[in-house]
Symmetry: C2
Subunit: 426 residues, 2 copies
């Protein structure tokens, strides 16, 4: 059901039917065994490989339309699939099959004086809505993570990728069916009408959680309008603080890597904080290295005294996630001012200290309220794969439920299991 | 600042100041040691005992005003303090001091191929807003749990209890100060204007979570209007299912206790489901016992054939949390119809099966999507103390973050701690 045939479609009714199918399917997939889920993942991988040509052809339709609408080259790049990208979708399925199944895990078992044995069982969340932008591979990545964690998923991709997504969605259907899993466990919203999103995020009676994947403006808009809980991945305004007691060799490596390895990821450093006592020895050399790489540097007054020719960094800079070859630098009196800066201007995503001083490490770890607090490590490590989660559906900047990189466990919850023997309460 | 002096007060400004103070205080209390927090709890207990007469006098002012406004006797009972109730507030402080401090606990430590050591540290949530109704003891109970978990708390009690709450709040201030903890860690909203609640629940930039404690209508209203996440404690429409393979002796004890021990608590059974194969042997005796206790019974058609003289139970009954001496009874074909009934009509709070059949136990545990699933035990056990949490701030019917009885851990979250040695990402 494509855009062309959507005229007159009753969107609330269409979404209600999708959501109800998802709820029914979620009860089924919640109890599918690990083997059956892994078989489905293997079958989806095969189906993607079998239909590679179709996927690429449909992707070409999207690309042609995108070029016609003069979409930006960055967006075209995100939209484009090629044989390698298709292969990596198939491989992704096999990798997720390898991951431990979190469902059914029992923890915190206690025997109570009442005679009850009480524990917590990990169970799927139920129905998950994923809202994403132009990358068609998210259709697979998100679907298979939700599936492995025992959830039904409703996918809403970008309008510009609709043909690619439909082709990929048919592979999901085929693979699931071959493994005996109801295809309604993974449903792609086939209408491109924006109203469908509005419905999806306001159905708390059917949908348990929304995971938006995309830019800050998408996530902010969805968070504002949603009545379903949202796992938010807002900005990463990350800091590295070089302490008085830093090993300046490590400090230079970490600072350079945190900014220069990749600019556009949420774990990239945006502001470098340097203790005043080491700044003169540390900053000139590092700044030369940044400049050589073509990184624009903006400094506070003290920094600009030490390193001539820098732009001025002001209030706005401390609050900006550049996601670009720009870095702001501030010299601070010491650890307390650094922590204060991070708590005032940061986004509570990922922040690092470089120091050999254990007391300073501990103080930084305890006082910096970020989803990841790092010691002597590059902020660019903020990533589910690097953390050993095996997969990642996003990095949560929420405090509740799940914080930091979100893997399979973040797509589940726990329930109490209480076992008695005819036990009654006095 | 009482109602009489509130005319012309700028509520948004007043609440903004309270919230900003709470945020600053939260950074302090987050790093207070266990000993200091426990000392504060002991000092609060002493202060309550010292000012018992003042608390009772101020409570009498509230009671007199409530009687004048013809408030119901149930509400007057909730509002009333007496020496025993005041003592139990002080004892509550000492009990919470005994509980393990969840803050700082490290789990899930892994060494990664990159050389990083990664773990999760349990940390306070930050600022917690508690909105409650007439019981003044909640002022203490809620404050001390938030405090022990390292959070700043903003308390909003019922207007009818304002003098009692102010007196109790002064004991909190005194105890905290004696332990060297900033009094802003526990703030009572001193204006009774309803607009203050509206502000509190729409400050996600300052307040991390709202815990409403009260009736369903309060919680629903707050959930609807809040932009801060809410730990909801909605209704407990609890079921007990008596399986074909039940030990009917245990079944009778559990069914009777689940309904008759207390009617008004969320863990009370509201609907009894009985497998058809055991109904004739089981129901007549049990129904006689319920009737003797004065419990009104409403049955499905099959139940009414077996037990003459029952009221008719209809669709509405299956959906009603009576919280009263009323029970609806349905005979089902077996476990699958029972599960289907629970999933269709239940509130996902607490549901039990009585059976000796292990396969049926497992199926019930896996398929019933409730915060507590019980086997051969009374649903009246749904309670943080019975579960060994040591304390309870409510029972969450959310799936996210915390589900079921909420103790100290539910008032915290986790952050990643990443330790390297100058480690950079390739």
């Amino acid at each position: 059901m494509l855009a062309s045939s959507q005229a007159g479609l009753d969107i609330p009714d269409y979404m209600d039917r999708i959501a109800r199918r998802a709820v029914r399917a979620s009860r089924e997939i919640a109890h599918a065994g690990t083997e059956q889920k892994n078989r489905a993942l293997a079958k989806v991988a095969q189906s993607i490989e079998k239909h590679r040509a179709v996927i690429l052809r449909e992707n070409n339709r999207d690309l042609a339309a995108a070029r016609k609408s003069n979409l930006s080259s960055a967006l075209l790049d995100r939209l484009e699939l090629n044989p390698q990208r298709v292969d990596s979708m198939a491989n992704g399925c096999r990798q997720v099959a390898e991951l431990d199944d979190p469902v059914g895990e029992m923890t915190a078992l206690v025997d109570r004086p009442s005679g009850l044995r009480i524990g917590k069982m990990r169970v799927p969340l139920g129905v998950i809505g994923i809202i994403y932008e132009s990358r068609p591979n998210v259709t697979i990545d998100a679907a298979i993570l939700c599936l492995k964690a025992g959830n039904a998923v409703i996918l809403r991709g970008g309008t510009e990728a609709i043909h690619s997504n439909l082709a990929i969605s048919r592979c999901l259907d085929e693979g699931l069916e071959q493994a005996g899993i109801h295809a309604a466990c993974v449903q792609l919203i086939e209408v491109t009408d924006r109203a469908a999103v509005g419905e999806l995020i306001t159905m708390p009676e059917h949908v348990d959680i929304i995971v938006p994947r995309g830019g800050k403006s998408l996530i902010e808009r969805i968070s504002r309008e949603a009545t379903v809980p949202v796992i938010k991945h807002l900005e990463g305004l990350c800091h590295v603080y070089i302490d008085d007691d830093a090993d300046l060799g490590k400090a230079a490596e970490v600072s350079y890597n945190a900014k220069a390895r990749r600019y556009g990821i949420c774990g990239a450093m945006e502001t470098l904080l340097v203790a005043q006592s080491v700044a003169a020895r540390f900053l000139p050399g590092l700044c030369a290295r940044y400049a050589e790489k073509g990184i624009e540097l903006r400094g506070c007054a003290r920094t600009r005294e030490l390193v001539p020719g820098l732009q001025v960094a002001g209030e706005d800079d401390w609050r900006t996630e550049y996601l670009d070859a720009i870095l702001s630098i501030r010299i601070v009196d010491g650890i307390d001012q650094a922590i204060d800066h991070i708590e005032t201007y940061g986004s509570h995503h990922t922040d690092a200290i470089v120091t050999e001083n254990r007391a300073h490490q501990d103080r930084f770890i305890r006082k910096v309220d970020s989803s990841s607090v790092m010691v002597n490590a590059s902020t660019q490590f903020a990533d589910g794969f690097e953390y050993g989660l095996g997969a990642e559906i996003g990095i949560s900047t929420n405090k509740l439920h799940v914080r930091g990189p979100v893997g399979l466990e973040g797509l589940t919850c726990q329930k109490y299991v209480v076992i008695g023997d005819g036990t009654i309460r006095a």
